[in-house]
């Protein structure tokens, strides 16, 4: 009996913790999935306006941000590899690079949104209200979906920062990388969503 009590204080189940993370990711997939369906239906109903409105978006910034997210996904995956191989220092460096890339993404987003708002394009602006329904829907969805995605980037940065500290002070060790792995899964999810956001908003002709 006493021994089983000792065992309870040291409970570690990587499969279960990963399972929990995936269940959470499913809710996120369905959240954005619902928004993608809203987007598709409105695009089907207003094809011309959606086409014209999308020309306002800057493909170059979108492309750069795609590359930034893809690279950051790789660095976080590499950070897990480094930890599993017992290279704590490299793991921390790679996590720091991931955080910097996330920040770069947000800075880009700031300039992109800034330019839009400067041109009087933001939800509820007088200029947007004077445009057609299709334009309003396109920009409404653009701001909401990329905004929600940017919020996920911020949450991901907070999560990765906490993990950075935990790796640093030794709470995450070579044989127990679940927390780091789950943080990585979240970061890849953010990347996954952007993979669909980018062509749908920036590239569609």
């Amino acid at each position: 009996m006493e021994q089983s009590n000792v065992a309870h204080t040291d409970h570690f189940d990587p499969t279960a913790s990963k399972l929990g993370m995936w269940l959470f990711i499913f809710t996120e997939i369905l959240l954005f999935g619902g928004l993608f369906i809203v987007y598709s239906v409105y695009r089907y109903k207003h094809p011309v306006e959606f086409h014209l409105a999308h020309l306002e978006l800057d493909v170059t910034i979108g492309f750069i941000n795609t590359i930034i997210l893809l690279v950051s996904s790789m660095t976080v995956a590499m950070s897990i590899t480094a930890m599993q191989l017992g290279n704590k220092k490299l793991s921390l460096i790679l996590l720091a690079i991931t955080l910097l890339l996330a920040l770069a993404f947000l800075v880009n987003k700031y300039f992109e949104w800034g330019a839009k708002i400067h041109h009087d394009i933001y939800p509820g602006s007088e200029f947007l209200m004077s445009l057609s329904k299709g334009d309003m829907l396109f920009f409404g969805l653009y701001f909401f979906m990329t905004g929600l995605h940017a919020l996920h980037i911020i949450v991901g940065m907070v999560l990765l920062s906490v993990i950075f500290v935990k790796v640093k002070n030794g709470s995450v060790i070579q044989n127990r990388v679940s927390l780091l792995e789950n943080g990585g899964l979240y970061w890849h999810l953010v990347d996954l969503i952007w993979i669909f956001l980018f062509p749908l908003f920036y590239l569609i002709h």
């Binding site: 399972l19 109903k45 795609t66 996904s73």
Partner: protein, 94 residues
């Protein structure tokens, strides 16, 4: 604990995966700049799906994890596709 069967991805494999993803991104931008009519959207979505699969299998480690994870992800994607199909049946034939 089943330490022995834990798969550790190599640094090299991560770099190869990243290169594939970047190439596919460049391909999408190039393809959509050519006018293919309605096929532009199809091409962009097919490439995005390939990229998503690569991220799921390699970065998110589904290829090497227990089968239950792959099964669950497939199921969720299948449910989502059914919802899309039902929605569009409604809008196309209303």
């Amino acid at each position: 604990m089943s330490e022995h069967k834990n798969h550790i991805s190599t640094y090299k494999s991560h770099i190869v995966v990243l290169l594939c993803l970047v190439l596919l991104t460049i391909l999408t931008v190039t393809i959509t700049s050519v006018h293919l009519g309605p096929y532009n959207t199809t091409a962009a979505m097919v490439i995005a799906s390939i990229k998503a699969s690569i991220v799921l299998l390699y970065f998110m480690h589904l290829k090497f994890d227990e089968k239950i994870f792959r099964f669950m992800v497939t199921l969720v994607i299948a449910i989502y596709l059914v919802v899309i199909i039902i929605t569009f049946f409604d809008y196309l034939y209303r």
